[in-house]
């Protein structure tokens, strides 16, 4: 992940009218935004499209940037809205992109293969992720697939931090129940 101070400096200059700087900022954050889309259950093609749309919205709203705020949290807010719109167009998500899941199943390197989870269990976990309610899927993706802290997760989801914790607990219970049923 890019350094926050560098991103803040780039965003400050882009917001004050230097449009070329926004291109440099986009190059710094596009990989993170792409992974964010993948973690939210988009396919690789949809995640790439979501990156473009997120950057365009951020460019349009660059005047609304507040100095000192977290650039990634600000961008994740746009990205989450884009992801939600894409999910509305596609009623049932994939949970985990099939290519990513295939790579996970193929990956025999340590420590991935040493944790004792079988390929069938991983496939069941991906299916369970897709079956979660949208909010629970979002919070699991932010907290466990992107390792975002509670504050950034709450900012991205436009909700309170307590809501993030409660939703995460409910999501884990749901996932555990489904995995237990699978076992």
């Amino acid at each position: 992940m890019p350094k926050q101070c560098d991103l803040s400096d780039l965003m400050d200059r882009a917001a004050s009218g230097d449009q070329a700087v926004f291109g440099a900022l986009a190059a710094e954050v596009q990989d993170d935004l792409f992974r964010f889309g993948l973690a939210q259950g988009l396919t690789a093609a949809d995640a790439a499209e979501a990156v473009q749309e997120t950057l365009l919205r951020a460019f349009e709203r660059r005047r609304a940037w507040r100095r000192g705020a977290s650039v990634m949290a600000w961008l994740y807010g746009f990205a989450m809205n884009v992801v939600r719109e894409m999910r509305r167009k596609r009623p049932r998500g994939v949970g985990v992109d099939p290519e990513v899941l295939a790579d996970v199943l193929r990956d025999g390197s340590a420590p991935a293969a040493a944790d004792g989870t079988s390929p069938e269990e991983l496939a069941a976990l991906a299916a369970a992720l897709a079956d979660l309610p949208p909010r629970q899927q979002e919070v699991v993706a932010c907290r466990y697939l992107r390792q975002m802290n509670v504050r950034d997760t709450a900012a991205a989801m436009s909700c309170a931090e307590g809501t993030v914790r409660a939703t995460l607990t409910a999501a884990l219970v749901n996932l555990r129940r489904r995995m237990a049923r699978w076992a």
Partner: protein
């Protein structure tokens, strides 16, 4: 921790977290496959949009239609009530003519502030006379009825009883 039927073995909880961790590791290896910052799309998004042309065009069309309707009445010197007292707003000459005939012309009946309405006379067609053949008693005992003949329908002939 949960209790009762919601009790789930702890190892299943671990499996969920470990599975999520493996997926997270694989996602972290991915890179954005798209192009660099799309200057062309920014221009398309921030450039002039079709809506800014569509709104004035629609307003101009509405104004032109309104002006055409106003000029049509003003240019012909007509009012919604036709010269013969009938409703003349219809664009069809036949319809306006037939409507004018339905309303009586009262222009000649107005004299010195008096309103005299001359109702058109209505004459119903005369009812057709019905004449039944009379029956008569010829000799005080015998009633002779006129013979009734039903009209024949078609050229049916022969016996229908079979």
């Amino acid at each position: 921790m949960m209790s009762g039927e919601d009790q789930i073995p702890e190892q299943e909880y671990d499996k969920v977290l470990k599975g999520l961790s493996r997926i997270a590791v694989q996602i972290e290896r991915r890179k954005y496959p798209g192009h660099a910052w799309p200057a062309l799309r920014v221009h398309e998004r921030t450039g002039p949009r079709l809506i800014w042309f569509a709104i004035p065009a629609a307003a101009a069309m509405a104004a032109a239609l309104l002006l055409a309707v106003v000029l049509r009445f003003a240019g012909q010197g007509t009012s919604p009530i036709g010269p013969q007292g009938g409703v003349a707003t219809s664009s069809s000459a036949d319809v306006s003519h037939s409507l004018a005939l339905m309303v009586p012309d009262m222009s000649e009946s107005l004299e010195a502030g008096e309103l005299k309405m001359e109702l058109p006379s209505i004459s119903l067609p005369a009812a057709p006379s019905l004449s039944l053949p009379s029956a008569e008693i010829t000799d005080g005992m015998t009633l002779s009825l006129p013979s009734l003949s039903l009209p024949s329908y078609g050229e049916k002939s022969g016996n229908n009883d079979s």
